[in-house]
Symmetry: C2
Subunit: 179 residues, 2 copies
Amino acid sequence: MRVLGVDPGLTRCGVGVVEGVAGRQLTMLGVGVVRTPADAELGQRLVAVEQGIEQWLDEYRPEFVAVERVFSQHNVRTVMGTAQASAVTMLCAARRGIPVALHTPSEVKAAVTGSGRADKAQVGAMVTRLLRLSAPPKPADAADALALAICHIWRAPAQNRLQQAVALHTAKAPKGRTA
Amino acid sequence: MRVLGVDPGLTRCGVGVVEGVAGRQLTMLGVGVVRTPADAELGQRLVAVEQGIEQWLDEYRPEFVAVERVFSQHNVRTVMGTAQASAVTMLCAARRGIPVALHTPSEVKAAVTGSGRADKAQVGAMVTRLLRLSAPPKPADAADALALAICHIWRAPAQNRLQQAVALHTAKAPKGRTA
């Protein structure tokens, strides 16, 4: 299972590719950052994000894309940029028929550190350990992208079982219903 | 001057094309709505928005795209969908090198009705009158898209003069500065 994790942002998009299955040693295939110039026009920045994500999809051909779920309770300007970069990332994946999964920051932290309230340093340390890297990936956005990919690999089996159960239930349910 | 106005939304994107110059009678060339199914996956909905906007750009070849500026103080879910549809719209335009302008809802209302606090009905009535339509365009998103295009045509001359003045000032300024 090969997953591209994306920590979306207009100035910096963290990107990381991890391969493996739950319960086995994971392998990092690539990590980096897609940057766009802060002084460029918004439309041009979105085009730059699209080109950057397309390059990562071309090079690594992931089977899944995991993106951080955006919440709007944070800083207004930051959230808009994050939502826009996230939309472009999801668009790129969906155009290729690659399934996109969204994970919240606390789901990601809980998956890699055991605590949904872990700090950046703790996430970086665990990503380094789990992927057997020599040093924590920098910037933090890159480490977060790898954590997203790891989170997806570990959560996917449970999510798939849940989806299968729902699918089975939905297929059976109509017979038992009277309405 | 041909402008595509877009009132972004994930469920409904209002789209309208207006041609004309400030101070002359304006002409509506087309109006409609790009819809995406609420039960589709988010990535697929963004792909549908992209395809819809591309069709409008292909058919009408606008010189400018005017998009409603998104604020995040409203409902969280709605704002995210709006920001995502807006990002896809700006991406489509920027990829073709078409300049994108953002106008706030109150700028648009003030431009077409004279009041930044006008209601939907008032905006619809003025759009109908200004474009000499037989009835207000429906749904409201379609009327709002036309209002955005009209706003852009009317505001553009002032904006261009402002940009020219800034450009002149910036070109001259360094000589006078000591830092």
